[in-house]
Subunit: 452 residues, 4 copies
Amino acid sequence: MAPSTPRLVVPIDLKKKPWEQERPLHNRWHPDIPPVCEVRDGEFFRVEMVDWTGGSIKDDGSAIDVKGIDLSAVHYLSGPIRVVDKDGIAAKPGDLLVVEICNLGPLPGDEWGFTAIFDRENGGGFLTDHFPCASKAIWYFEGIYAYSPHIPGVRFPGLTHPGIIGTAPSMELLNIWNERERDVEENGLKSLKLCEVLHSRPLANLPSPKGCHLGKIQKDTPEWERIAGEAARTIPGRENGGNCDIKNLSRGSKIYLPVFVDGANFSTGDMHFSQGDGEISFCGAIEMSGFLELKCEIIRGGMKEYLTPMGPTPLHVNPIFEIGPVEPRFSEWLVFEGISVDEGGRQHFLDASVAYKRATLNAIDYLSKFGYSKEQMYLLLSCCPCEGRISGIVDSPNAMATIAIPTAIFDQDIRPKTDKVPLGPRVIRTPDVLKCTYDGNLPITKNLATMT
Amino acid sequence: MAPSTPRLVVPIDLKKKPWEQERPLHNRWHPDIPPVCEVRDGEFFRVEMVDWTGGSIKDDGSAIDVKGIDLSAVHYLSGPIRVVDKDGIAAKPGDLLVVEICNLGPLPGDEWGFTAIFDRENGGGFLTDHFPCASKAIWYFEGIYAYSPHIPGVRFPGLTHPGIIGTAPSMELLNIWNERERDVEENGLKSLKLCEVLHSRPLANLPSPKGCHLGKIQKDTPEWERIAGEAARTIPGRENGGNCDIKNLSRGSKIYLPVFVDGANFSTGDMHFSQGDGEISFCGAIEMSGFLELKCEIIRGGMKEYLTPMGPTPLHVNPIFEIGPVEPRFSEWLVFEGISVDEGGRQHFLDASVAYKRATLNAIDYLSKFGYSKEQMYLLLSCCPCEGRISGIVDSPNAMATIAIPTAIFDQDIRPKTDKVPLGPRVIRTPDVLKCTYDGNLPITKNLATMT
Amino acid sequence: MAPSTPRLVVPIDLKKKPWEQERPLHNRWHPDIPPVCEVRDGEFFRVEMVDWTGGSIKDDGSAIDVKGIDLSAVHYLSGPIRVVDKDGIAAKPGDLLVVEICNLGPLPGDEWGFTAIFDRENGGGFLTDHFPCASKAIWYFEGIYAYSPHIPGVRFPGLTHPGIIGTAPSMELLNIWNERERDVEENGLKSLKLCEVLHSRPLANLPSPKGCHLGKIQKDTPEWERIAGEAARTIPGRENGGNCDIKNLSRGSKIYLPVFVDGANFSTGDMHFSQGDGEISFCGAIEMSGFLELKCEIIRGGMKEYLTPMGPTPLHVNPIFEIGPVEPRFSEWLVFEGISVDEGGRQHFLDASVAYKRATLNAIDYLSKFGYSKEQMYLLLSCCPCEGRISGIVDSPNAMATIAIPTAIFDQDIRPKTDKVPLGPRVIRTPDVLKCTYDGNLPITKNLATMT
Amino acid sequence: MAPSTPRLVVPIDLKKKPWEQERPLHNRWHPDIPPVCEVRDGEFFRVEMVDWTGGSIKDDGSAIDVKGIDLSAVHYLSGPIRVVDKDGIAAKPGDLLVVEICNLGPLPGDEWGFTAIFDRENGGGFLTDHFPCASKAIWYFEGIYAYSPHIPGVRFPGLTHPGIIGTAPSMELLNIWNERERDVEENGLKSLKLCEVLHSRPLANLPSPKGCHLGKIQKDTPEWERIAGEAARTIPGRENGGNCDIKNLSRGSKIYLPVFVDGANFSTGDMHFSQGDGEISFCGAIEMSGFLELKCEIIRGGMKEYLTPMGPTPLHVNPIFEIGPVEPRFSEWLVFEGISVDEGGRQHFLDASVAYKRATLNAIDYLSKFGYSKEQMYLLLSCCPCEGRISGIVDSPNAMATIAIPTAIFDQDIRPKTDKVPLGPRVIRTPDVLKCTYDGNLPITKNLATMT
């Protein structure tokens, strides 16, 4: 074996459940979840992971599994991984942990993924008021490329990345999280008048023992009960990194993470073969199992040196990262604009979320002219390497957001035709997906559910 | 003269005021502002423009001009330009106007620009609660590059673009604008509780005869009075394009604009030598005078064919564009994350504006460690080619935004040092800017004002 | 005038001949050609230039001007430009002169260029045994783009650059040049057996008073006679830079030139709107007049520090350069291979010139299937931004060269069709060029000459 | 197993010799080497391969293995692979075979490679007259990156590719090869006077039973004897592709290969983790074992449709390829020029090989100023992603070649310093390599050989 073969520190056996793995997975953030392995500064090692749902979604043409998914149990994370320096001394709170992603990809024999629209009753997504019903597209991989039988005529190289990478929080930080998220959960509806129109989504995801897995900690023990009652959910990204869903955290990236507990105890999961900025359909990346090949370094005292003060606390937080050198290269992009006026014509004040919503709706409307259903394009913009930008955020009252789509991912020319020839009737690309999308008011999945 | 020399349709004489130009400028959107020239489908032509303030800001080291600027008179636009097809028949409502930016740049002899922080009392910017005082940096150009005596150690190639390009609205569209913006102006404060903390900025900029210029229409005539009372301000981008401030509308871009009036009557202005995504300090680009070399095409009936229905109206709106092939190329980026928790620790719900605000504050805090004041870095992030992304917009309750900064614009290595050597005392790069920024509670410009 | 407006140190009046200019041009390399202007280290200045032929080629559809061109008078260079440091002390032999190309482009009002195939009897080009007759294509510019009525269906952004930039040689260096070039001229045919098949081109271009222009030195004076008899021709690139024809010396490039005489005395000319690697048709770039905006720096003693020893001499020579950040961006390339077996089937030994010749012939053959004549494609590969690579140079007996063509420059998809549909009859794109190319054995230019 | 898991058609067991593999390897080109497997048009499959020497070079610090290597047995190729269409009908002579490289990389557990300088007595390389002694650098991989203990301070992402991919020749084509290569071998020295100075390398590599392996054909049978006496060596690239050593044939590339025999029977091998243009030190890439994941398509009759006539034969030949979308991205390059004047000062006529030789020597000389030995830099330029261009090939008598080196591969700034500070004494980076390079006249490997 070559000296540069990575040491496998978290193996995954896809035939086993997440909690049955040799190094059992966890799905919460808490300082007391014990590490499952230890790596040394400079060591080259490999971490495997399940998909974020732990295998709940099937490689088939029905969205019934998406419709009924239990969100209390996501995301299954590999780790925590304890980091020590070359002398064996652990990373300390206040240090900066540098994680370099040397390589990543799908697990051999499991080269497929899924993109889903969540049902409005199950949390929905960014455009849930337009696409209330569950839907799903399956993607197959051919090396660097993905294609889907459910969205024909599209093929693109992956900008593969872990949706989640983060360090264990301290109790101090965890308490801050729980407090502020409880506040929005309890008081949110009163103050968030404007958003009511837009969203009927969960305001926060508070700690809950339901579905909780804590790695090596035995279920239903007192320790488990205590931690499960306090531990933060993995849904949102936070000051420790976490579910940041940054599509550019790919091969060659370096991430600088704050260390809050002895050993840093970082975890990772939620591998995406590809994702568009915003991951708009919620389960919007091409979700898959996979592996990471990593190297870590410890910068002693680096949090104060490099990160930003959190405010009322002495903590310095928020990851920084460098982008790697092998991102897919596209030279031609078609770009759609959105301003912060909602679909009902109501003016919002410099609201980039509303502006981005309009930009994505404009793009979906446009692309559906090329033979696709809008559900297909919602799924596609969630997972293809499109770029979502905050272009203008100061010109009251309109924020301006854009979404840029690389034209090369389509097998047809999707640019407007300046030769003044009307687009005319186009080939319909949708039949293959009828079984997993919705047609009008009748959710297809219900039929499928009945049929199954 | 070569057949491919562009025809100059809007000349600018920098010694004259905007309203004294041969083809007088205008600073409002209204269907009845008459065109100042006509171009033909396929013709190659040149449009010159003043800077957005019409020459109000001086090439000096004092921000007093920024502090006192009269915002009622911006932005000065070149046009309207009427477009006809090869047979001389005008573009019609419902057509799509394709504008290709073949080239652009500063006006010969006027190769400089400015970036400013607006005073809180004069409207402020994205971070006005952190940077309440007026400030200014002057930029000089060396061909494709800009450098500033006020922000030493930085030099970068421009991704030059017009901040504003848009077609004249129809009365129908103008009425929609005025109605919805009046609504936010009048009812905004009640519903926008959360934003109170963040902003004390004007909620909208409603029509006002003060400072109004309408091109060829004689001031104080009844027609002028009528139009000035109805015409939309140019501050926000809207469905006609307008002040979209999209930094990628540069050389080689093609913009597809909706046509609402006979002849399309498009106008352009607010040239930026360079701008960061968001243009965060409001007068945040490197503002300058300049020229555009353009070609137009008319796609008959293209609005319905290619654009998005506006909703309650029969209009299809919102520009689409393609990105050009000569954007500056950077391979290394340092990226900062922000989540939708504000500086006071309050949790917001999937608010990309808050998340982007935190990302920019994190970046400013970090970069100021390299010998700069925070004002300098606020100015820099406003105008350098940084990319602002909506990375995650579905993981309740946190939106995740990122700002990516090309490391090559600095003459020092701004990446975290993994060799564990503390950054130590750094060269202070700030002295040159003291005169135009604020020091603590004492606004320097006051002194400068006194001195002047 | 802004402090960053470049100072015009070599103005061009296109209505005057090269030798009538205010700062008269020269077309030879010699240490005693006096400088026409002086610039200071760090100064931002502008140099204008005529096209390489000094206006001999017309913007028309006949190649008769190409056929008859007098090559003894090229290239007309702007300069020499003397460089001094901030204290006014001149650059010295042994220093390194850094020239930064801050900007460049065509001269206003003269936005067009030409690409020509030279007649075999007039020197020919790389493929002169295949294309023996003079031909010409005119290009018009639309900002960053060029298009030609003679090669329809093609449009591309320019990677504009000066074909020639170099410092004045010392007498020592000049003598070395003259000696070695005389050797190849006199003894070349004996030893160059293999090349006979390939080329019937001039082996060298030795000093000659015919057509000689020496700037400020009065013609036919004894000094002129002496210099004209010694001065090196500008055709080949040499250790001082010179006619290096490197297409990447564009905006933002930095060139490190050796200094051989007091003041460095650098000259520049032969502006190319665009050129392919190799400039294969000899007059193969899009040749034009133009301007450069430059900055210089002097690195004292830098030749020995940074350059390579020349061998028997104490000189350190050969320029180094850095590539600029705004080269046109293409993501899709079609690549053709060539090996060092000539068209007659004869095996050559690791000869990259033969390999590149075959690669270009393969590309021309392929592209001509898309409705073009081979002359059109020879002209196109000479001037479009194609990349010519030495891919393998060690695998005896075959060198392997490749030429990569960006597919986006065509308005049709030129990739092989994998759907197995034969290409079938294609639109013929050639009629427009008949008048300036050759048809079979009958050179059209002869007819044109007769007609004119 | 997911439907998109590639089918493994050529497995490699690294513990076995090339000829002991389940699908035995071959090292010659001949129409009668029988295929070892069959793939179908559109199928996604995997091919594994040994390194080009079949494991002769060890992961150690001695170059003794390089010095003594038997070149008669290289390169070991996987295949031939027979290709049939969806109906099971084989590719036919005249068809075009499209091979898409969907993915590739090192074999798990064998993540290392080597770059070597061949001894002059064993064939040498491009610069063998400057570097006559065997040398070796070992490279270890960390995911996308390679680093070498023998060339410290350098790390770069791989542009991984198979050095060899080609189809089996027909007898007609094979005869042409043998004839022309015999001609150069026998008559070369007479006509190649100029090259004598440059090279003392084998002029060709003619068929030879020594070291020959023919896959499934039993050694020393009459059939083996016949084929071994006729079969072409794999050293040079030829009209069938073969050892083209094109560094851009990487992930996402599509190669269009001519088909000369029933089934196409293509073979591949000689995997390179990375290679510089020219592969100048001969064993100059980072050589390794590896895998390819491929898809094939057949374009019926495509040779005549798309390729170039070979001349006296009815064949249409020479592969075409498209470049993939995930090449490593570098924005800053330092470029060295070379002209066709050799190191002795002798002028050559438009000889791109001489020009490229000088460019590489200039680059090696320059880079060695930064603490490296010249051997280290010769090895580095052979294997790092540097670009070798034919910049000018028409300006008699000088060809102009350039080599561009991405500056980001070094951990120090290798650009010339314009602040006029002499480089001064630099850290010496060479000690680690002393054991495998040569010091003056004393080849270190001899010592090592003695010691071993």
